[in-house]
């Protein structure tokens, strides 16, 4: 037995190195691996909160009609009721948070309407389409149609 351990100094040295290595690994791992890693799976759980913290740019239609009740009433029940306000008026999250910070620009009716209603063979056949060349050329669509409820009587 004694003969087996007669050169044990070498063994102690190697064992010490191993122990130091293991301690170093454990310490480094504790420092380097984020606290939330593995919370839900093999990824950083905190990343969910990071993505969630992105700013909201489009306020959503519910926020618009909170203040613009009159336009909201007009829009309700009309054929354009499915369209969110910001689809035409642009992203207005800032305006919803603080109305004075950003003043919405009135959209150009002609280009905006044609963006959806110009004829295109790939569009569903039942979707209302016009050929801009023979339908009120150059005129403003809003002269005849109410943009908020095109199927209702035009607003006086």
């Amino acid at each position: 037995m004694n003969r087996l351990f007669k050169d044990k100094e070498h063994l102690v040295r190697v064992a010490g190195l191993f122990a130091a290595g293991i301690v170093l690994f454990v310490v480094a791992r504790a420092v380097l691996v984020p606290k939330t890693f593995g919370e839900y799976g093999h990824y950083r759980g905190g990343a969910l909160a990071d993505v969630r913290a992105n700013p909201v740019v489009y306020a959503g239609r519910a926020a618009c009609v909170e203040c613009h009740a009159e336009e909201g009433e007009r829009w309700k029940g009309g054929k354009h009721h499915g369209i969110g306000c910001e689809a035409c008026h642009g992203a207005l999250g800032k305006h919803a948070a603080d109305p004075s910070s950003l003043k919405p620009v009135k959209p150009d009716a002609r280009t905006l309407c044609l963006g959806c209603h110009a004829t295109n063979v790939a569009k569903p056949a039942k979707f209302p389409q016009i050929d801009p060349k023979d339908h009120m050329e150059g005129g403003l669509c809003t002269t005849c149609h109410d943009q908020h409820a095109p199927d209702k009587e035009p607003k006086k």
Partner: protein
């Protein structure tokens, strides 16, 4: 005092069950709150997906523009989290003609003559939010993952930009953001849907062709829709568990 085993187990069980709420309540009290704060958003209550109705899409590009604005996607060069394709399929042809000028950002100028005996339609594309996603499986560092509520997200601070996931996605939904050199993709507007809003593309779709759905919400109209419509996912043979359901999808769409 005598106590039989059944009685002892029942009491112990009750004590054990009560421990967790009591501990939570104690923590809340220690932090100075009288009532434990009600979590506004619980991941366990949601499982997100989307319905895309080809019969309703008019190719206006509202979704593409809205997505770029909401998520600060580079405008040019043209990278997309969502884009719209136009298919033009001649009868009995195996090769549909597909185009997507600037991803549909500015709509689709008329290109085909009416009555050319081919069928034409628009197909909006986005990340399919796969439940068994190939892209998350190849990430070497855990920078992309399926969240417990069913969104496939990217951890930008972890991404190395190695591009494995870009190659792994069978739908071509990922790109490398040239500004950060990390990967980017549709995250189903995770910052919006966790606040009770819908995604930017659904908010701005004028025809309701795209609808955000919560598959875990029993009141969501998606269940009725999936029962009454013949829906399809893209590349079902790849078994990705895609949660973007297409209605009226043509077989030529890849």
């Amino acid at each position: 005092m005598s106590q039989d085993r059944r009685e002892f187990l029942a009491t112990a069980g009750r004590v054990l069950i009560l421990t967790a709420p009591a501990a939570a309540y104690w923590d809340a009290l220690a932090e100075g709150k009288t009532e434990p704060e009600e979590a506004a958003y619980r991941m366990a209550d949601h499982f997100w997906g989307m319905i895309v109705d080809i019969d309703k899409c008019i190719g206006c590009g509202s979704c593409v523009r809205a997505c770029k604005t909401e998520n600060n996607v580079p405008l040019e060069p043209f990278y997309f989290r969502t884009w719209v394709e136009r298919y033009h399929v001649e009868p009995l042809s195996e090769h549909p003609e597909v185009d997507s000028p600037n991803g549909g950002y500015g709509g689709f100028p008329e290109k085909y003559a009416p009555g050319d005996k081919a069928k034409s339609f628009f197909v909006p594309k986005l990340c399919n939010q796969c439940a068994h996603s190939p892209c998350t499986q190849v990430c070497p560092v855990g920078a992309t993952f399926e969240s417990p509520d069913g969104a496939v997200l990217v951890d930008k601070t972890y991404c190395l930009g190695c591009r494995y996931c870009v190659q792994a996605c069978p739908y071509g939904c990922r790109f490398i953001d040239p500004r950060t050199n990390t990967v980017d993709k549709c995250n189903l507007c995770y910052h919006r849907i966790t606040k009770g809003l819908t995604t930017a593309c659904c908010e701005n779709c004028p025809t309701g062709a795209r609808q955000l759905v919560d598959l875990k919400d029993p009141r969501d109209p998606v269940h009725e829709f999936l029962r009454t419509h013949r829906v399809h996912v893209l590349k079902p043979q790849m078994a990705t568990g895609s949660k973007v359901f297409y209605n009226a999808l043509d077989g030529s769409v890849r």
